[in-house]
Symmetry: C2
DNA sequence: TCAGTTACGTCAGTGATGTTGACATATCCC
DNA sequence: GGGATATGTCAACATCACTGACGTAACTGA
């Protein structure tokens, strides 16, 4: 495939933004780097990478997730997913069960071991978040959630909202 | 360089987090994915990737940046940096000049073409940011900046602050 | 029931980005 | 002049993504 340099729409008007938000751009970069850096060090000890973390996280958060739904969340190809998922299965962090109504589906569940690791990783990230929120004034948490949610592509928000919905389910059960 | 994990005040008994901040963790993931996704599509047309974007961004923002300073910002090896930097040099998006006081140094500058691309990419990200901020209430911008800054590893904040300082220089000159 | 679609697995090859380790070169500083 | 510093480079490798093609089992509807 060739890069179609000459084919970019010349009529791209792109109303050129009042002033680039350099500060937020850079803060976002550094904050995210450190945010994912915490789990990275732990994952290394298990022979896992970030890809494994993402899979484990969403499976643990959404018991019974199908492969198709996971692919939709992660936005990677099934070949990419399969490699890391296979390792999580072999090492006993995730398990598959046959779909209840559709036997073609593989419903994914975190094993106790997988759940423990997922929670551990989530807690390290939570520590950084809580520390950050403690440094900031009250109301920062709500503002941060609003801002991050608004940064998400509108078309994708239903998917994200559905994951959050699932959070509510879990909470109301406890 | 090692992070002095073992040297933190032992009086911190690691209170194991009240409740995992699942919502913020997931929002952060999705928001960042879309935040970097915008430039990705443009970069592809130039045969560049995210690595090129990061280098170009910080060079454009900090004219005269040295290789060592850039390595410190990006936290990658010089071999990794060299590959992408070489491409940016060859394609004429960045240029090198001899250090003024130290002739071993290569001071990096964005060319006009490089500056144009860097600004273009920053503006696409700014559009998403501005749209998000417009959706949120007043005060969200300040809160978001506070939160993201607080998420950064304290030891790294001086570096980030120095970059922001440079922003101020540029502003006061304009 | 049979044909088409769907859900998933897998083989093979490639590319982008990161790593470690070793070594070369030019320059600075004492 | 000798050691440290700033940078460049060669080689090998790991991770995580991609495309394309093909296989299998199970659902679905005419």
């Amino acid at each position: 495939m060739q890069t179609a340099l000459g084919m970019r729409t010349p009529a791209a008007p792109e109303p050129p933004v009042e002033r680039p938000q350099y500060e937020l751009i850079e803060l976002f970069f550094f904050a995210y780097r450190d945010f994912v850096g915490d789990p990275d060090r732990t994952l290394e000890q298990y022979g896992f990478g970030r890809a494994h973390h993402r899979v484990l996280h969403f499976v643990e958060r959404n018991p019974g997730l199908t492969i198709a739904a996971l692919l939709d969340i992660l936005r990677i190809t099934k070949q990419s997913l399969n490699r890391v998922l296979k390792e999580l299965l072999e090492k006993g962090y995730v398990e598959q069960r046959e779909g209840l109504t559709d036997r073609r589906q593989r419903l994914l569940y975190a094993t106790p071991r997988g759940r423990a690791l997922a929670v551990d990783l989530a807690c390290m990230q939570t520590k950084r978040i809580d520390r950050a929120l403690a440094e900031c004034g009250a109301g920062t948490e709500a503002a941060a959630k609003r801002f991050l949610a608004a940064m998400i592509e509108p078309a994708d928000r239903p998917v994200v909202a559905q994951l959050a919905q699932h959070d509510d389910d879990l909470e109301s059960r406890s």
